[in-house]
């Protein structure tokens, strides 16, 4: 592997034991080639994930939050090796995942599962629920009778009746389909689940059902979650620790309480202030960020956030800030971490 092991370690979660690292990622990168022209020559690299170090402790939920294109979903998939990383090291339960192949990888996959946002696209419309949920068990060679027992059992645990097993995905509502997706993951009794925007497509009243279910299942099955979402309030609610991503990098990592009480990175501060809260008349200093997220094909030099940052200085264009510990296992990648930022002027000019 090309990357050196990082020396920074941010331990102490609240839900997991920092001495017991289930998933360890070092210098993980995932680039996608950008091709152009008739010959499809590679003209650039889209740096979706660009050097991420992350420890996930057994029994905790780590939230991954950021705006579209920040690389959070790609990171989730790369950690499961559903996407082959361009560089870096990934260790799961003490085993180097990237060295596994064939049946060893298949065996490992049993312990790492994923739940997707799009419950329509991720469930084969021609398979009934019994087959959908039992598919993983079939692949892992469980005979039909024991498979069916396991399916009925897991359906009940996610709040679906055994009768649901004979029906097809289109006969269910969005919330119920998300339960089917969860059952599919859980039936293999995994240790680790990546939940990729599992509630983003759901109505609020259904979203809370699924969030409560995720919390219950985590306790019941001793699970560890990586919860990927764009909604800061939802991520903060379900996670023990939260990693904030911007343009392929983790810019801040802290326990959920710490992050809300003492955000250190200006991007996190902006995200928090942009979050529309259902509290009318709340007076707050709103940090309106100018412009849009730059392209990950040609990211800014130095700090990637500097083009939108209200407190950027010349050094930010030259030296890339690293994720450093600022006490209480609170990491932030900013030269001026903790500097308060004031409400910027509205972008509508006269």
């Amino acid at each position: 592997m090309t990357t050196e092991l990082s020396t920074t370690r941010l331990d102490l979660g609240t839900g997991g034991d920092p001495a017991d690292v289930l998933l360890k990622a070092r210098g993980v990168k995932k680039y996608f080639p950008v091709r152009k022209g008739v010959l499809k020559r590679t003209v650039g690299q889209l740096q979706a994930v660009d050097g991420v170090d992350l420890d996930v402790f057994r029994g905790e939920t780590v939230g991954l939050v950021g705006e579209s294109g920040c690389g959070k979903s790609t990171l989730g998939r790369t950690l499961l090796r559903l996407l082959e990383p361009t560089a870096g090291e990934i260790e799961f339960d003490g085993v180097d995942v990237l060295r596994l192949g064939g049946s060893d990888l298949k065996g490992m996959r049993r312990h790492m599962q994923i739940v997707f946002q799009d419950s329509v696209g991720s469930l084969d419309p021609r398979m009934n629920v019994n087959d959908l949920v039992g598919e993983g068990l079939r692949i892992h060679g469980l005979e039909r009778k024991r498979r069916n027992e396991a399916v009925v059992d897991v359906l009940e645990r996610v709040g679906l009746s055994a009768e649901a097993g004979r029906r097809y995905p289109h006969q269910f509502s969005g919330g119920q389909r998300q339960r089917i997706g969860l059952a599919r993951a859980l039936v293999l009794r995994p240790k680790f689940i990546v939940a990729d925007e599992p509630v983003s497509a759901l109505d609020v009243s259904i979203q809370s059902q699924v969030l409560n279910l995720l919390v219950e299942l985590k306790q019941e099955f001793n699970l560890t979650y990586l919860f990927v979402a764009h909604d800061l309030a939802v991520v903060g609610y379900i996670s023990d620790r939260v990693a904030v991503m911007y343009l392929g990098k983790i810019v801040e990592l802290a326990t959920s309480e710490e992050l809300f009480r003492r955000p250190l990175h200006p991007y996190t501060m902006a995200l928090l202030s942009a979050n529309p809260e259902p509290v009318p008349g709340r007076k707050r200093q709103r940090v309106v960020l100018h412009g849009d997220v730059p392209s990950p094909i040609n990211p800014p030099s130095g700090c990637r956030f500097r083009t939108r940052c209200p407190i950027a200085q010349p050094i930010c264009a030259e030296v890339e800030p690293l994720l450093e510990d600022h006490g209480s296992s609170h990491g932030a990648a900013c030269h001026f971490a903790g500097t308060p930022i004031h409400a910027a002027t509205s972008p509508a000019g006269g």
Partner: protein, 334 residues
């Protein structure tokens, strides 16, 4: 008649083989000159059909049922001639949608598209119209508008496209802007920009806003008045502060309790509303929320509650028959 828009007994539905299927079923609301109203609800509540009905943009097999009134400055849009309606649409009332990419024509520059709206509704030449387009793009905060008028929609980001839509909608100084989920497709920092822009423009131009959204956070930030829809009806309406602080309808209350606020943790379970939003095919006979309601009693399953006055709100719940319900917090203490 002080209100700019008064919708009375609006019912919109779709002709199907099984008969006329209502998506909106007897909705009343008013917006004052320069006022702001949010119609909030989950998918299938009828909020978007309500918005489209006001503009009479309902296509067959959909139609607005007889007996519906949409009074805009005293004229009933529900029965107005199409040619008369076209003078109001885009001129006095304009609309922005959730997905700016599909609402913009990909083969024309954004400048041409804004100018087209101006030319169509105001008696100006092509050159003046394009000047007006630049002016509008400046107003909505698009940098270097004189160059940007030449851009095609795909050359702009999602946030910039929504700004173009707003520029187009405001180009004829409308008295009412209907915004149907204007920020739902945008990232949260871009959403903040667009919401700030809409608030600022409203103050500057004094137009009324009818906001359609599912996001209670956006509602809290943007409007003065709220109407909560469920099952094709308004179940509660009133001033935003009271709706959020002391919701009178159990659905409003449950909806507010089901959203995690910033800083809430999983040790505190969220309120879940059991079951799913019913489709118009399976609306219950009496109160439409009753099968999912924690407080439902015999009467709720027998008689449909009308909007009952619980000043400053109105709530369609039998619990409000004898005045205001005890607020949640007081209930929790007791």
């Amino acid at each position: 008649m002080s209100s700019l828009l008064a919708v009375e007994n609006l019912s919109t539905g779709f002709d199907t083989r099984e008969g006329f299927l209502r998506a909106v079923d007897g909705v009343d609301f008013e917006i004052a000159q320069g006022g702001t109203l949010a119609v909030v609800g989950e998918s299938g509540s009828g909020k978007s059909v309500t918005a489209l009905s006001v503009m009479r943009l309902i296509d067959r097999p959909g139609r607005i049922a007889g007996g519906s009134h949409i009074l805009f400055e005293g004229r009933d849009l529900a029965t107005l001639e199409e040619s008369e309606l076209e003078k109001i649409r885009g001129n006095d009332i304009s609309m922005i949608f959730q997905e700016p990419m599909t609402s913009l024509n990909p083969v024309f520059t954004v400048g041409d598209q804004i100018a087209e709206t101006v030319q169509l509704h105001q008696n100006v030449g092509a050159k003046d119209a394009l000047e007006r387009a630049v002016e509008m793009m400046q107003l909505v905060g698009i940098p270097s508008p004189a160059q940007r008028v030449q851009d095609y929609p795909h050359q702009l980001s999602g946030g910039m496209r929504q700004r173009v839509m707003i520029a187009m909608a405001l180009s004829c100084n409308p008295k009412l802007l209907i915004a149907d989920e204007p920020t739902t497709a945008l990232d949260v920092t871009v959403q903040a920009q667009i919401l700030e822009l809409m608030k600022e423009l409203r103050e500057r131009l004094g137009m009324a806003i009818l906001l359609i959204t599912h996001d209670l956070g956006v509602v809290a930030e943007m409007v003065d008045e709220v109407a909560v829809m469920y099952g094709g009806r308004i179940v509660e309406r009133g001033p935003v502060a009271e709706i959020f602080a002391t919701p009178q309808h159990p659905y409003t209350e449950a909806l507010l309790d089901s959203i995690p606020l910033l800083g809430m943790r999983y040790s505190q379970p969220l309120r879940a509303i059991r079951g799913v939003v019913p489709s118009p095919l399976e609306w219950p006979e009496a109160c439409r929320f009753a099968p999912r309601c924690d407080y439902a009693f015999a009467k709720c399953l027998e008689v449909d509650p009308p909007l009952l006055p619980v000043p400053p709100q109105e709530s369609a719940c039998w619990l409000c028959e004898n005045g205001r319900r005890v607020p949640r917090s007081a209930e929790a203490i007791a």
